[in-house]
């Protein structure tokens, strides 16, 4: 719960919305609308997970960027593009793995192998 707001918390609001869509909305729709409803439910879950995991993930992202001596993704992307990391691209990818896994953990955790 984030002051000064009352309960339900942001997460609890999203949970309530998810439950209603799944229980009452989804059974009554078909075809394209059913698919679009599922997409909407997924989006609610993405936001809910980002609220929960986002702050820690932001810190980890910054740590990884700092380990490259970079301030943001744009800077790192530009350095890679310029060929600066050509001799150890696989190492670069492995160091970025925790950041990418964090993104998947929010967007679609079932995707992780």
């Amino acid at each position: 719960m984030t002051a000064p707001h009352d309960r339900p918390t942001a997460t609890e609001l999203l949970e309530a919305l998810h439950e209603w869509m799944e229980r009452d909305l989804l059974p009554g729709v078909n075809g394209r609308l059913q698919f679009h409803t599922r997409v909407a439910i997924n989006m609610i879950d993405i936001v809910r997970r980002e609220l929960e995991l986002g702050p820690d993930q932001e810190a980890r992202h910054q740590e990884v960027l700092s380990s490259f001596g970079m301030g943001d993704d744009a800077e790192l992307a530009a350095a890679i593009r310029s060929g600066e990391f050509d001799s150890d691209l696989v190492d670069v990818l492995n160091r970025l793995r925790p950041v990418v896994e964090d993104k998947v953990r929010v967007a679609n955790p079932r995707y992780l192998l």
Partner: protein
């Protein structure tokens, strides 16, 4: 008397096909630049694709590719009318004979109806790819070469959203570029979702609008991209092993695809789909087409970053 757009299209189709009756005309899907319609003319089923009013593009090449593929024995919907330069339907079009079957990947991969089809589909896709790659590309006027690396590098930069994993992959692809096997007709979107499957197997290869001249291994790599496995456990269309696909291909061409080269194209394909995900979300964000479905695709970008790390780490360990 007011004639609706629907009736006008019916009349146009009757003229084009010289048909006494047009029935069951229904819109199937709406792409950004094309409309697809299904209809019956004098008892026979057809599919119409027409350029959407007000958009650029046409059917200059695709009908020619389709006929060439048909002549080469590749399973395709048979071209009935090449309307690239015709005006009866107000914008360029083509009409093909309707093919029965299923295109929805999840059904093909999971429904009992397709249990028999699943056993033979990988081999059929390998054979069909080999046949289509043997078509004389020079016989198709207007078919052009397409440098996929260059194209998607430009797309990514124009989108202006930095992705270090994608940049690292571009560098890796550049430094590990294989010698081109040959330059031939490439389908350009050879994957589950773009094939019609019936109970016995492959019915037709659809969606030839991205056909171009390129490396034949592009089609095999794209077929194996994880997104096009739709949750299936195996690399080739989610259904088959690489070996099964390559053996089938070699049974036609006599040359077995080099797995390393196909892998290079699978990596480029994964990168390409990742970039397409960014641009789909951008279509929403820039207000070209506001859609929560397009918006959600933006959060699939990271699946491709994840796959690329898996692919490249696995390769070099």
């Amino acid at each position: 008397m007011v004639v609706s757009a629907h009736e006008e299209l019916e009349h146009g189709l009757a003229r084009v096909l010289n048909a006494a009756s047009i029935t069951n005309l229904q819109r199937l899907s709406g792409g950004a630049s094309r409309e697809t319609w299904r209809f019956t003319a004098d008892g026979e089923g057809y599919v119409l694709q027409r350029v959407r009013a007000g958009t650029v593009g046409g059917f200059q090449v695709e009908p020619k590719v389709l006929s060439a593929a048909h002549r080469a024995g590749v399973p395709v919907a048979e071209l009935v009318v090449d309307g690239a330069d015709r005006t009866e339907l107000n914008s360029p079009f083509m009409i093909v004979r309707a093919v029965e079957g299923e295109t929805i990947a999840r059904k093909i991969l999971r429904d009992d109806t397709f249990a028999t089809a699943r056993k033979v589909l990988t081999t059929q896709l390998g054979v069909a790819a080999a046949h289509l790659h043997q078509i004389d590309a020079a016989s198709i006027p207007g078919l052009v070469a397409d440098d996929q690396m260059n194209r998607y590098q430009t797309v990514l930069r124009d989108l202006g959203e930095p992705h270090p994993v994608f940049e690292a992959t571009f560098r890796w692809l550049e430094l590990n570029k294989p010698e081109s096997t040959s330059a031939c007709l490439v389908h350009g979107d050879y994957r589950l979702g773009n094939i019609m499957v019936n109970e016995t197997g492959l019915g037709a290869i659809l969606d030839w609008e991205l056909a171009h001249i390129g490396d034949p291994m592009e089609d095999l790599g794209w077929l194996c991209v994880r997104a096009w496995r739709f949750g299936g456990a195996f690399p080739a269309a989610g259904l088959g092993a690489y070996d099964e696909l390559f053996d089938a291909y070699a049974s036609v061409t006599g040359v077995r695809p080099n797995p390393e080269v196909v892998r290079w194209w699978e990596i480029l394909g994964t990168l390409k789909w990742g970039i397409i995900c960014i641009s789909q979300a951008a279509t929403h964000l820039m207000g070209i087409a506001r859609s929560h479905e397009l918006a959600a695709i933006g959060r699939r970008v990271c699946e491709n970053e994840y796959d690329l790390i898996e692919l490249l780490a696995e390769r070099t360990q």
